[in-house]
């Protein structure tokens, strides 16, 4: 059952990222990415992290992507993106990507101890996570909250139209 879910989710996830690359329309790209993020949430749930899985769906799929779609609708490029002139970039990109992929796999093979699959103890309980967040990681947590406030104010000031004198 878990295997089936994993393969289903990974096929959907990779296919939707590919769809995002292929599709010409930005709104469809954004929808494909939403699907991919939801699948990632599924992987988190499979990996014993239900809290992070739900947070992923609420924040990524439910809030961040809504902002993206908002901006896409405001910008509203009706024609879609015109076919790009420089064809060599995509080939170049794929080449680099494949090289990077091989390199990362080799690095993983060499650098890490074998992954400990067998550990079956349940982790990811929300209360444990909260405890850790407010003890060991208190300062990062506070700094992130300041960052969020700054981003909020910054975004408003950036986009607000200047009043005419």
């Amino acid at each position: 059952m878990a295997y089936f879910l994993f393969f289903l989710l990974s096929v959907v996830c990779i296919a939707s990222v590919l769809g995002m690359i292929i599709s010409k329309n930005q709104a469809y790209s954004a929808l494909f990415v939403i699907l991919a993020f939801t699948c990632t949430g599924g992987f988190f749930a499979l990996l014993d992290a239900p809290f992070i899985a739900v947070i992923q769906i609420i924040i990524y799929a439910g809030a961040i992507m809504v902002l993206f779609i908002f901006v896409i609708m405001m910008v509203d490029v009706r024609k879609g993106i015109t076919p790009e002139k420089k064809k060599w970039t995509s080939g170049f990109a794929s080449g680099i990507a494949v090289i990077l992929f091989i390199e990362l796999i080799v690095a993983l093979k060499m650098a890490f101890n074998p992954l400990n699959t067998s550990s079956s103890q349940a982790i990811g309980n929300p209360s444990d996570l909260g405890y850790l967040l407010f003890t060991k990681y208190l300062y990062p947590f506070e700094i992130t909250s300041i960052l969020i406030i700054t981003a909020l104010v910054g975004a408003i000031i950036l986009v607000k139209k200047k009043e005419k004198e």
Partner: protein, 100 residues
């Protein structure tokens, strides 16, 4: 139990696809989206390592990544909107000069 190396491979695939998307796409919004995909791939790797080590620290890192991503998206999209207002375009080709 699914071998954890599968998840790592998957996260690598997603990361590499994100890089490809970043180079293939020609407008700011989808490039920004592909950055988000790369962040997600990294998150997946973090969660996998957290599971492997039976420690919650990886999940905490992912929590921070998600919050920082939210802040980053708010600012980034505001900048994209500003660029669109000035240039009437969000294609990377049209953004050549530093001074608007």
């Amino acid at each position: 139990m699914i071998p954890l190396s599968y998840f790592i491979i998957l996260s690598l695939i997603l990361f590499v696809l994100g890089i490809i998307a970043f180079f293939v796409k020609k407008d700011l919004i989808t490039q920004f989206l592909s950055v988000e995909i790369m962040l997600n791939a990294a998150n997946l790797a973090f969660i996998t390592f957290s599971k492997s080590a039976s420690a919650l620290d990886g999940q905490i890192i992912v929590f921070f990544v998600i919050t920082v991503a939210a802040a980053e998206v708010a600012i980034g999209l505001a900048i994209i909107l500003l660029i669109y207002r000035q240039k009437k375009s969000i294609k990377t080709e049209d953004i050549k000069s530093m001074k608007g």
